[in-house]
Amino acid sequence: MSNEENGNNISRRKFIKGVGVGIAGSCVLPSLEQSAIAQAKEGGDAVHGGKELLSLTVNGKPVRVLVEPRMTLAELLREKLQLTGTKIVCNQGACGGCTVLLDGHAVYSCHMLALDAAEREVTTIEGLMTGEELHPIQQAFVDKDGYQCGFCTPGQVMAAQALLLRHPRPTREQVLEGMSGNICRCAAYPKILESALAAAEKIRKS
């Protein structure tokens, strides 16, 4: 069994466990919800029946957070951690708008539960930067105009990062394949391709 399969099994178990708690919780919702609101008012996210403690690494920093089992990784990033660089477009694993790196591999963060990222390392568009400085891939998207509205761009950049981690010297075909899971409705594709190729070149030279 590969590591990845292993990871999935663990998280599926967790998910089922979490759902069970959620259902049990819903029978006594009013009081629970009130206490949750009360806790929220106190500024804390204290433990209660509906939530699970999750620890993971986000952009190099350890994060411990209570989440509802139904929460997706994208929601965790955007709503709990305010990392709104990650976008949600289809919320269904069909477009790549929410792409982030999980242990260096591109994943659709809308299509996995936050709990599935337990003890793993998540990198978002914000984590690609060094302080205020752009990553060479980000810079390449600026130089080559690899976007129009920019809404799919964080996902495109992360997909390019995953691609270049795998293939530091990608062929044109490898780029096309690596980026084919990311829809750009503005269809800036020719310049997205150029950006990814230019980024590879830039990283190679540095």
């Binding site: 139904r70 660089g85 919320n91 509205c149 920019g150 829809i183 594709y189």
Partner: protein, 765 residues
């Protein structure tokens, strides 16, 4: 600078509009050509690039406010129904629920002309029933399921042909034909033209409903401060959102502020104010908290617009020598449940020379989501049909398709009987044909014998490109020599921030890094038109130029006062004013401003009036090469050459990008995109991005963009025409003709999916 108020008429999306506009009294004088420019015309990277790639660009979707509540909408599950009872008591008691609105507890707010914000008469799957605000989006969604609604189901119709029949279910009181009658146009004598023709071809074409599906879902965040409302909205038209929201809520427009900084695409769907914005404002008012409302992808595919479908019957008659003698266009299309436009005959009426033309077009109501303008409304579908049939006529005449178009080149606008300010379509033909290698084209269609068959095809394009006044821009020169441009336009992803800065940088001869641009805020920017219809660059950049030229004047006059010399002896160069004789006498911008102490220099630039007595249009031709896999029916677009007359190119980089986008969307429309409704239930089957197919990077052909035009000096100082729509208009027609050239059988129906290709091949035998 002297100004005057004029009446300006321009075409936007689907209609002519007339507005009053303040314009410079003296007209405008053209800027130098691009060859003499340092910044304009160059591939300048975007001002907002950093924000976009770093994830710091804040879209409406990302806005969070303290104490923010979240709203979700309950929508009709039926294609046609009447609400007989609604009970939201149980839903209201759900945890986290803050407020619920529906037709029984909200005043009737007029919408779509004859309907209301909440209308108990529901006319499509997705029509708004109720809206809930809650602590979280999940809580709001959960509450939607607990609202008890009783519906009386009504007979429905989801097909335009069926809706036009006598006994069809009536969607509106006046019947299912919008306006009660077709839109008609005629010139010359069609029958006489037909009589003198040697070749007559009659064909029927159909096009599908296409959905915009911008990546950022439609969304608003609203916040009341007393009786003032701030709306962050993902919109292409901040001023029209302001006006619609104000009117709906009974507020003076001045009390509503609409802000849009970044937005994730629109393509026309975000030109119209959404019900959701007003619903959010009503909820926010009731619960005393800011509200964020977003649609999900399913709602995006139901309720926020689409390109109406079309059935187009064309007749084209030509003489032996290739001259067109008569053309007619009869069509209908489904606009959905509320008013929109399905007309698509404009290209046929105007692009080629033909004395005898008649058109008759029906916009038909059906029980489906209402249409909205979609990148070149009518023109994309109309051009596909026209260019397809023209190729068939050319073949009958044994003429090369390109020669046939050249033969019928129109030198004036035949509808308005006006000359064009400029028309470089013939140049586009030459450049495009050369780039694609038109002489490689198979003379006999379907000449290839193997599994993969290749073909070349082309189509022409016409669009309204003028832009219009009023469009204003404030230019602020700061003490540190930096510049701020403020305008009420919006950058919808096309590069408006950047092109505006380029114009100011060019004229003031300062580095573009010193320029900041503030757009998309009705409270601070002077009025500019909506961003659609390829209006933005041609409307807004001339106002920037006007403001920058005035600023130069101001600096000259300031320097004259400081240096105590006549202004006429001074010149402005590279951010400095210097004396023509005494070279020691000079002042930089910063020096001048320092001496003026706290006074910031301000100018207000305005877009000039369009010239009287001219039609202003953009033109172009696209050439496509395709390869058809005759085994699977798959079509691969190999290459597209786009040769266009768009006036002055202001930014080569963003311009190319827009052409790429338009062409790829054209490929989507030609080959894959289609909204499908189940006729049995009236439900849309393609409500997610799995089922609604859009182009990916794998569908990308090689694309070459050729601009054959220079500045159109008759239009404005900048002389740009718009690019957004022209980029997409001819693509499907060019691909259709290339497919015909490849396989030798004509497809009359979009999208040209593998099943249709295989069927056509089978019929050919």
């Amino acid at each position: 600078m002297a100004r005057k108020i004029i009446k300006s008429k321009y075409f936007v999306e689907e209609d002519f509009v007339e507005v009053l506009a303040e314009v410079p009294a003296g007209g405008s004088s053209p800027l130098p050509t691009n060859q003499e420019m340092k910044v304009i015309g160059r591939p300048v990277t975007r001002l907002d690039g950093y924000d976009k790639v770093s994830g710091t660009a804040r879209y409406t979707f990302d806005i969070n406010l303290p104490h923010l509540a979240h709203a979700r909408t309950l929508r009709s599950p039926y294609a046609h129904a009447r609400i007989t009872a609604i009970d939201a008591r149980e839903a209201a008691k759900m945890p986290g629920v803050l407020g619920i609105i529906h037709y029984q507890n909200v005043d009737q707010i007029p919408w779509y002309g004859s309907s209301f914000l909440f209308d108990p008469h529901l006319r499509y799957v997705g029509d708004e029933v109720a809206c809930v605000a809650a602590e979280t989006e999940a809580a709001a969604s959960a509450a939607l399921k607990r609202i008890k609604v009783e519906y009386e189901e009504l007979p429905f119709v989801v097909d335009a042909a069926a809706a036009m029949k006598q006994n069809a279910p009536a969607i509106h009181e006046g019947g299912n034909i919008q306006g009660g009658k077709p839109a008609v146009y005629a010139r010359g004598d069609f029958d006489a033209g037909l009589a003198e023709a040697d070749v007559v071809v009659e064909e029927t074409f159909t096009t599908q409903v296409e959905v915009h599906n911008p990546t950022e879902v439609h969304c608003s965040v609203v916040n009341w401060e007393g009786d003032r409302l701030t709306v962050w909205d993902s919109t292409q038209a901040i001023f029209s959102v302001r006006d619609t929201v104000a009117q709906s809520l009974g507020l003076p427009a001045s009390q509503v502020r609409v802000i849009k900084r970044y937005m994730g695409g629109g393509f026309g769907s975000k030109l119209t104010t959404g019900k959701y914005t007003v619903m959010a404002a009503l909820l926010a008012q009731r619960i005393g908290r800011p509200v964020r409302i977003t649609l999900d992808r399913e709602e995006m595919n139901l309720a926020v617009g689409n390109r109406p479908d079309s059935v187009q019957k064309l007749t084209v008659a030509a003489k032996k020598d290739g001259t067109l003698s008569a053309m007619s266009h009869w069509s209908y299309g489904a606009v959905g449940a509320y008013p929109s436009g399905a007309a698509c005959s404009w290209p046929l009426r105007t692009i080629y020379q033909c004395p005898n033309v008649k058109t008759e077009e029906y916009s038909v109501f059906i029980n489906a989501g209402p249409g909205r303008p979609f990148r070149a409304p009518g023109h994309v579908q109309g051009t596909f049909a026209l260019e397809s049939i023209l190729d068939d006529v050319a073949e009958k005449l044994a003429m090369d398709p390109l020669e046939f178009r050249r033969k019928n080149h129109a030198t004036i606008d035949q509808v308005m009987n006006l000359p064009y300010t400029s028309k470089k379509l013939l140049e586009a033909y030459d450049a495009g044909a050369k780039a694609i290698g038109w002489d490689r084209r198979r003379k006999v269609p379907g000449a290839d014998k193997g599994r993969y068959q290749r073909g070349l095809g082309f189509a022409s394009q016409i669009w309204w490109g003028a832009g219009t006044p009023p469009a204003g821009c404030i230019l602020k020169l700061n003490r540190d020599g930096s510049v701020r441009l403020i305008a009420g336009t919006q950058d919808i992803g096309t590069g408006t921030y950047t092109v505006m800065a380029q114009v100011a940088a060019e004229i003031l001869e300062i580095p573009i890094e010193r320029i900041q641009v503030n757009l998309g805020d009705t409270a601070v920017g002077p009025y500019c038109p909506l961003s659609g219809g390829s209006l933005t660059t041609p409307s807004v950049t001339p106002a920037v130029a006007d403001a920058a030229l005035q600023m130069k004047e101001k600096l000259l006059s300031a320097a004259a006062a400081i240096l105590e010399v006549p202004q006429g002896e001074l010149v402005y160069q590279r951010g400095e004013v210097r004396h023509t004789g005494d070279t020691s006498k000079k002042k930089t911008i910063v020096e001048i401003l320092r001496e003026m102490r706290e006074q910031t220099l301000l100018t207000y630039g305005a877009r000039n009036a369009n010239p009287e007595g001219y039609a202003i249009n953009s033109f172009g031709a696209q050439f496509a090469e395709v390869e058809v896999d005759t085994l699977t029916g798959h079509v691969k677009v190999i290459k597209v050459v786009a040769a266009h007359d768009i006036g002055r190119a202001v930014n080569r980089l963003t311009l190319e990008n827009q052409f790429h986008g338009g062409i790829l969307q054209g490929i989507g429309f030609a080959l894959m995109e289609e909204r499908v409704i189940d006729p049995q239930t009236g439900k849309v089957l393609t409500v997610n991005l799995h089922d609604y197919k859009m182009p990916t990077i794998m569908d990308m052909p090689e694309i070459e963009v050729i601009i054959v035009s220079e500045a159109d000096t008759k239009i404005s100082n900048v002389g740009a025409k718009g690019v957004g729509e022209p980029a997409m208009i001819p693509t499907p027609g060019a691909i259709a003709n290339a497919i015909y050239n490849a396989i030798g059988v004509r497809l009359h129906s979009l999208p040209m999916t593998p099943d249709k290709i295989l069927m056509a091949l089978a019929q050919k035998g």
